[in-house]
Symmetry: C2
Subunit: 241 residues, 2 copies
DNA sequence: AGCGAAGCTTGAGGTAAATCAAGTTGTCCG
DNA sequence: CGGACAACTTGATTTACCTCAAGCTTCGCT
């Protein structure tokens, strides 16, 4: 998947690894060609920011590879991560003036970027794209609402269990083509302990202690700081349920 | 606004109080007539449930009057309210099989209900409706994500301040037509203390203590349990910021 | 290899909110 | 109008998580 050349500006849609899963999936060859003309590939290094909260919303984008975070800050600096974006996910705020959150790459990422105005014009002329975007947005709203139960009503243990299962399941969807995949028990965390804390609404110390606890209980195994193996999936699912 | 007859099944769209704000706003007279044929009005008493979490998603609806809550539960019964729906808001999960949350009326409410299958067919044939629904869904996603900052990173005082301001601003949008309105400082809470706790991710006791604190500080004034007057809006805005 | 620094872990102590347990106040209804 | 019940408030105590403060790993770099 990393083999394709992200700098190739000519007809990159044809070879795009998320071509059949992103919002462009239902477009025909002619439409794809038009979309190809208004978009461009962009590579982001870890830590690089694509959109700033409060800034004019100039871009929208599809994630092609990598993982990005959406986040917002309180005036005093407290940060809350609003979600993660995986390959085929859509980024940005069409039909809105300002970006309501920041978007920053967690890992080395490739995105397919459009000027918001270009994209909106295209969408209004091509109902199928707008329909796909609607379906994706409704799905994202469901996912976001489920996260509210975690932030409002779960304890630290339940929160980390839920996140580990979520990352596992999202990782596979991002890695394999849509036949024959299954959710892996081994994966790499795409973010630091502090970022995990900002996702879960906890402090870095509490997150660290929970990792230690899961390790001691044999629920997970770790090689280095970011390589996780789930050993007792049932235990995690019980907590997350 | 309560003067219109909710049981009148003939052409209720024409006289609908949310006609210009709901997703039907951009439809022409012919389209409205078609939509009118597939929808029907339904009145809900406080506490009555329109959709159950996990059930087949048979309905979608527009809120005409009243306030409803969307909520989800953990397996052990802990509840988290995912959001409130005010007049002109859209309810339900188009293009999905199961309802990801429950919808229950908080106050006496009127909704305009469609069979999901009817609605989806109509939407696919009428791009303007789908576009409106997309805009509304994107807005709802933004609002939901902002709430995550509250659940993940705010203390009890900040949470209640934010909710009071939110209810005040949503109440006016629900009450007045779109010219000349301003946000009121006096309003009625449409929910119980326990429901406020379930919105804010707190316990009923903590909510009660915060109300008492705001009253003692002269930030708000209360007549009975549900009538609130904001006396120091600055103070609340400072906390919510 | 070995240094340095950022990232992470661990411990001790403090605190906001939860929990448990009475009281009190509104509200419904005959 | 009064009585009963649910809804709410208040107080005392506990606890999960936060804060502050060291240490310890991991990893990039020369």
């Amino acid at each position: 998947m990393q083999a394709e050349d992200p700098t190739n500006e000519i007809n990159f849609c044809q070879a795009c690894s998320v071509r059949n899963r992103a919002i462009c999936a239902d477009l025909d060859d002619h439409e794809i060609e038009l979309l190809n003309k208004i978009g461009r590939r962009r590579r982001l290094a870890p830590g690089e920011t694509l959109l700033w909260e409060g800034d004019e919303a100039v871009f929208v984008a599809n994630v092609v590879s990598g993982v990005l975070k959406l986040s917002t800050q309180k005036s005093d600096g407290r940060e809350q991560i609003l979600g993660l974006a995986y390959p085929s996910d859509f980024l940005g705020r069409p039909f809105g003036e300002v970006s309501p959150y920041s978007v920053e790459a967690l890992s080395e990422s490739t995105v397919c970027v459009f000027q918001r105005s270009d994209f909106e014009r295209f969408a209004e002329e091509h109902g199928r794209l707008e329909h796909k975007l609607l379906e994706r947005t409704l799905g994202e709203l469901d996912r976001t609402r489920r996260w509210m139960l975690l932030l409002g009503r779960m304890n630290a243990e339940e929160r980390l269990a839920t996140l580990l299962l979520e990352i596992a399941s999202r990782t596979v969807l991002a890695t394999c083509e849509n036949t024959g995949w299954k959710v892996p028990d081994e994966f790499e965390l795409p973010m630091s302990r502090q970022q995990i804390a900002d996702i879960l609404g906890l402090t870095i110390e509490t997150v660290s202690r929970q990792f230690t606890k899961f390790r001691e209980e044999g629920v997970i195994e770790m090689r280095g700081r970011r390589d996780v193996t789930i050993r007792k999936r049932d235990a995690l699912e019980m907590l997350a349920a």
